[in-house]
Symmetry: C2
Subunit: 346 residues, 2 copies
């Protein structure tokens, strides 16, 4: 199996990208890697690990796409960047089954749109991160920001892809799929919600209705479907609130001596909580519905996240997730088409 | 000053509503209250407190609007409910300056739309809760769910009203107003954001640009402007994430004896954090832009929140917030009109 890695994407590149890649090579004996970036630097980094050089192909690139530039312009202008070259390698080589990048989310998504394209039948690929829940499970959010102003058909496809992901990758027989909304009642929400609700009911998924953002991490849902704007707000507000609470707790502990004493006995607990909430260590967010497997690893990824992202590619490939999605999309094409026709007629 | 209270709205009504009202009557010597609900029950509740009966007028009603019914239907059908009668009293009496209800949010907002109407010039009234920030300040979110599918002009009015609120009520000279978006760059977001961004730049407010939901509670912003759908997701996702983290921390403490011992020394800290995050004790959410002052107190309000909500009405009235908003809306009418014309021409 061959996977391509953007060697110069992310805050801790190339060191942590190379370390994560080395860990993956050690763990998976049939894995071969193509990695893009400055050849000399990458060679020096790989020297640190006992890696079979025959299994790593370094493709020299001279440019880096940063977080601060316009994604569309960067993808068009920086043809010799580690990201664009990696995308081209993924596109042009049938034996390369997936890509991992910790680079700018906007650039990775734009690049994937422009270079890789959509899976047959999928109206819009979507970014689908997984988060921890109160019940120690996981919930998949789709879409968290790849597409603004989504149409009902897009959300139907998100629901199908998200459900297939949780079924295939997490072994949940009938993933509970919910629509992100402002209340649980059937008729709640904006125009998009009103239109898509009855469509989701007709799809061959376990659609359980509307969900309020308050219950996003409750553990009562496996897949949460949202327009990219609302999904992004839901994800980032959750992250921000957790970070705010942690920070307030930390500073309040420091204002009281007896609390600082008490906190000494709670180190393990604080660490356990931090680990439970640290979903980034599980890997990255799959860009579901793209023609090939793409994992967007978090910008601040360290080696374990890169390893986990590479493992996601392997897992998605081995479990034939993309074949399942393509087949389900094909099978539901008639339902979706007739629902759209119905809508036009009304 | 006369304020009308929905005596039978909220989970803890009428007991906590009456207790909060009694606290307000004791604290504000020139305050008179009209309260709606079952007369005998309310009289019995007021008997518990040393309240001057001349300052409380009980208006007997026979119905209650619950959380589980359709707001529009409830407002139309339950003409003798504590909420509808309270709204009518607010509407029909010039000397009644505001209303407090802890009843169903949907019903309160729908009732306010139908019975009270909009302030002159305001395109859409909006619900504007205030939340605690990391820097121990407060941030106002407007709108958090009163209006779905808002138009650019609505968001302009939210910005003006929110800015005026923070200026007048919290004494912030130049409130930093931000637009909720998926990134901080100027051109980020959905169609609504693209349209409203340049409009917000032209308004006589301190518009500081886009804000990611991650920074909602950072303390870097005083007013966050959003469409009601996204605002609702932002608010509820934040609440849910905080609640999830608290719950995980609690259960993790219980799994370790030394943590339970340590937690004994942290009681004050945990309580302080809880108090810091407990924004509901500050009062309710004003429904800004309605013709008269309306405060939606949280459904689970206890007496201190009801007192705080009554104080909000008094404060808004005394500081002439509504006059300021009306004047600003009038002054910016030409700018707004020309921006809309410009948009139509493009």
């Amino acid at each position: 199996m061959k996977i391509v890695i953007d060697g110069f994407g992310g805050d801790n590149s190339p060191q942590e990208i190379v370390r994560g890649t080395a860990l993956a090579i050690e763990k998976y004996k049939d894995l071969n890697i193509i990695i893009t970036g400055d050849k000399q630097t990458l060679e020096n980094e790989f020297e640190k690990y006992d890696v079979d050089k025959k299994r790593v192909e370094i493709v020299h690139t001279t440019e880096i796409v940063s977080n601060n530039e316009s994604p569309t312009e960067a993808i068009r202008a920086k043809k010799d960047s580690s990201l664009v070259v990696a995308l081209n390698i993924l596109k042009e080589n049938d034996d390369v089954c997936g890509l991992v990048s910790a680079g700018s989310t906007g650039a990775v998504l734009t690049g994937a749109f422009l270079k890789i394209g959509r899976m047959k039948g999928v109206s819009r690929p979507a970014l689908a991160p997984m988060l921890p829940t109160k019940k120690r499970g996981r919930v998949l959010l789709i879409d968290c920001g790849a597409n603004m102003d989504s149409k009902p058909i897009n959300l139907c496809h998100y629901a199908i892809m998200g459900s297939a992901y949780m079924q295939k990758m997490c072994g949940i027989e009938k993933p509970r799929v919910a629509l992100l909304n402002v209340g649980v009642e059937d008729k709640k929400g904006n125009e998009l919600c009103h239109e898509v609700f009855p469509m989701l009911q007709k799809l061959p998924i376990n659609f359980v209705g509307n969900m309020e953002a308050r219950d996003f991490l409750s553990g009562d849902y496996d897949v949460v479907v949202a327009d990219g704007f609302a999904g992004n707000v839901c994800l980032k507000a959750s992250e921000g609130a957790i970070q705010t609470l942690m920070s307030i707790l930390k500073s309040e502990i420091k204002t009281r001596k007896c609390s600082m004493f008490g906190a000494l006995f709670m180190k393990k607990t604080f660490k356990a909580v931090k680990n439970l909430m640290d979903y980034e260590s599980w890997g990255g967010s799959p860009f579901l519905g793209a023609k090939k497997i793409l994992i967007k690893s978090h910008g601040s990824s360290f080696a374990p996240s890169i390893l986990a992202s590479i493992e996601q590619v392997i897992d998605i490939y081995n479990k034939k997730l993309y074949e399942t999605i393509e087949q389900t999309i094909l099978e539901t094409k008639d339902i979706c088409d007739s629902m759209i026709e119905e809508k036009v007629e009304n």
